[in-house]
């Protein structure tokens, strides 16, 4: 079992076309998710699949891995036309996928997770035997598992016992152990530490040498250079370009990914921000965070927030950004630390208290944490402060409607009427409703955790504009965004977190961009937020 696990695929002629997806179209509930998409992949290449959120990458990969079927289009595998109707038929063709969201089954052991659904592929036997032989599976799996730091002992433990990092390793082993011909990696490095990324990249290279085609989705464009050979770029459900990575630069990629709208995204704020700027007016400290500590998550964090300011919090996944905001909102208990909001000193033990003090948050992961999907727009907006819509102690339908109408016109929320259920709105419009809900509590401090997660570029620009307007109106805003580009373009000031500590601060970000250029600012933040040079 220790011999070359990938001998079979190495016999393939490197460089020949292994996969061709042609004219793939798919509609979801009236939305054209994919529009005549083309994807050509050669064996032995690392093929980056790039595009903004909602560009259609996930849908395309779902089709390729058999999780959904296209409405139109054909797939050729080694020149043969194939139908990939189920995950199983994808597996049998030799298409393996490492999913973006963790796909680990907690009640099964690590070993069971690895071989589940692919017993026959692992044993390389055509067997219809109903039995599972865990010992045999362990033999087959062991060598690859060990490479990814899964010990013999751990193979037999329930996967639910392990953290995100180990779960990711389990998934990688699961994908590699079947000796795939095409390996799909959807954001494979999310949640991985630097050295684990390197380990994964090393494996990607060795698979490539063995003739495996890798289709790689990543938002970390800097990772693409030096690793990927080719890139297919998608935008709005179309494949807009296929290009060799050699001889292309980051800016070219970005403009291919975001098209003409990139200009709008990258454009400097045009709103008059003098109201919030130092010098023009006495600056007013709205929030003082003192010594936030939480075992293993936050290490003595202190910072100030001023009125009319957009403060960006930068940091890699796991740096403690979201945890810091949760602590500020009183969702998680702190070991120690206090805040000073407009001279009121104290602790926030409960989100209600945060709202009372004038702090409101637009949470990360709208679908899970933010929206009450069955609620109408009216109810969604009024829920956080029902006092605003009371009439003689009862909820007033008219007041609810008026309130909702006010926000609908103010933020141009696209909806047939104010009673529409929030789940029927597009992501961008849902986000605007949630922002309206926060504003209805009349907060002085607004926290945005991943404000543009999962919404398209146009809505993104609108949400950015809205955030800038709020700051211009004197509110204090804190923004967390994984996309560094977004964070840098939006913030006046950025503090950088690493492993629960503040490791750097950048004042007057817009001026810095003007003087030093965007790249320098980005490099600076990346350098500080990771331990390694980028």
């Amino acid at each position: 079992m220790q011999d070359n696990a990938f001998a079979e695929v190495s016999s393939l002629k490197a460089g020949s076309q292994i996969l061709k997806m042609s004219h793939i179209s798919k509609r979801y509930q009236g939305v054209q998710a994919l529009d005549k998409v083309e994807l050509d992949v050669r064996s032995g290449e690392i093929h980056a699949l790039l595009g903004g959120n909602g560009a259609g990458k996930s849908t395309l990969l779902k089709i390729l891995s058999g999780l959904t079927n296209p409405d139109e289009g054909t797939i050729f595998f080694h020149g043969q036309r194939v139908a990939i109707e189920s995950p199983r038929s994808a597996q049998e063709l030799g298409i393996s996928m490492i999913h973006q969201e963790l796909s680990i089954i907690p009640d099964l052991s690590v070993l069971e997770n690895i071989f589940l659904g692919q017993e026959r592929l692992i044993t390389q036997r055509k067997s219809w035997s109903p039995w599972v032989n865990r010992r045999e599976m362990a033999e087959k799996v062991r060598s690859v598992a060990t490479e990814f730091g899964i010990t013999e002992e751990e193979l037999w433990r329930p996967a639910g016992e392990f953290g995100a990092l180990k779960k990711r390793s389990i998934e990688i082993v699961k994908a590699l152990v079947v000796r795939p011909k095409i390996l799909i990696l959807d954001e494979p490095t999310s949640g991985l530490e630097e050295h684990e990324k390197e380990l994964l990249f090393g494996h990607m290279r060795s698979l490539q040498r063995l003739g495996v085609a890798l289709i790689w989705v990543t938002h970390h464009l800097d990772e693409v250079f030096g690793l990927a050979d080719t890139a297919t770029i998608m935008r709005d459900g179309k494949s807009v370009a296929q290009t060799s990575i050699e001889g292309i630069n980051l800016n070219d990629l970005i403009s291919l990914m975001f098209g003409s709208q990139a200009a709008a995204l990258i454009e400097q704020p045009k709103i008059d921000r003098t109201a919030g700027k130092a010098g023009s007016k006495e600056r007013f400290k709205t929030l003082e965070v003192v010594g936030f500590k939480r075992e293993g998550v936050l290490k003595d964090i202190s910072f100030d927030l001023w009125d009319g300011e957009i403060l960006g919090i930068a940091g890699l996944a796991g740096a403690g950004r979201t945890e810091l905001m949760r602590a500020l909102m009183g969702i998680d208990k702190l070991d120690s630390g206090s805040i000073n909001v407009f001279g009121k000193i104290g602790k926030i033990g409960h989100p209600e208290k945060a709202y009372e003090l004038g702090i409101a948050m637009v949470p990360e992961d709208r679908k899970v944490l933010g929206i009450l999907s069955e609620f109408s727009i009216e109810k969604s907006i009024s829920i956080s402060k029902l006092v605003n819509v009371l009439k003689k102690g009862f909820l007033s339908a008219k007041k609810e409607k008026d309130l909702a109408s006010e926000f609908i016109s103010k933020f141009s929320i696209k909806t047939p009427n104010s009673r529409e259920k929030i789940r029927n709105l597009s992501g961008g419009n849902q986000q605007k409703v949630i922002i309206s809900r926060c504003l209805n509590t009349n907060p002085r401090i607004l926290i945005f955790d991943e404000p543009t997660q999962g919404i398209d570029i146009a809505s993104k620009v609108e949400v950015h504009k809205l955030i800038r307007e709020l700051a211009a109106a004197g509110k204090s805003v804190i923004v967390i965004a994984s996309e560094l580009n977004e964070l840098i373009r939006l913030s006046d000031r950025i503090i950088i977190l690493r492993e629960g500590s503040i490791v750097g601060e950048l004042e007057s970000v817009p001026e810095r961009i003007q003087i030093n250029g965007y790249e320098v600012v980005e490099q600076d933040i990346l350098y500080k937020s990771s331990r390694v040079k980028v």
């Binding site: 796909s103 099964l108 070993l111 037999w156 016992e161």
Partner: protein, 336 residues
Amino acid sequence: MKLNIAASNSSKSLRNRILQDPSFGIVALLAVAILAMTVLEPSFATGGNVTNIINAMMTVSFLAIGMTVVLIAGGLDLSVGSTMAVTAGVAGNFLSYGMPMGVAFLWALAIGMGIGLINGLIITKLGIPDFIATLATLGIGQGVILLWTQGVPILGYMNDAYYYIGGLKKIAGPISIPMIVVVVISVGMAIILKRTKFGLELYAVGSSPISARNAGVNVDAIKISAYAISGLLAAIAGIHIAGRTTTVPPLIGKGYEISAIAAAVIGGASLLGGKGRVIGALLGALTLTLTRNIINLIGIESSWQAIVTGSVLIGAVLANRASSEFGRKTFRRGKS
């Protein structure tokens, strides 16, 4: 069938393995109850009473094993009591018309399994939640048997062989056919759950259907099979109960779904799916039957029975949780 993991396992003492077994809590609870009763109540530990208890737990055991399979797959089958009643009626009625016993029983089994398949298809193909779908078939089943019998019990179908099959006549000493059937089914189902792909996929589907689908498991087929197994076991329970009670009143199955769920949950199955064992279902059935027996023996008014049973359910689940918390770190379902 021991797995060769001795190297990693040698450090684990027998004592730890017992303490960390997920059923340790419930076994301890049962042991305390049995010990106390043996000391306090002379009529408890007699051969007659023990046989009584074992005979009385057969029906719930069949249903609880089927329920456990469904619960592992992340479902819930409320229709088992009504399916049991329908199949008991089919067996009794067809026999009373003079149909050969084997054929009548095959009909009952086929109908039970058919109801299970229908449950599974409604849930997976029509996308109706498990609770609602099986609540509906529970009602439909009850209605069908009421219409069919016009409320009159089915009787006059017993013959000598059926006395053996129902367990009223023993084959050797206290051993009856239902006992053998329960043992065979339990061992068979335990092997299926632990040693086959189907068993593994059952746990996978119940634990995380989306991840299971990503891994290439046919989630719908697994769920449908689970319901079919539950229906089949309900039919076995129906054939058994018709032989034990010698008449089939239309409401014979009433309340059995609750007992079956209670037994499965006491045995460690989770309504959230992905957990459960055959031995647990049997221990659960024993707990329920023992509770009833103790209440009868010490002469508590029968109205208290439901109250006590309810309290035992809560207590047993808490005992389970305590023991599984204890053994969580090293609990490994996949090995024996």
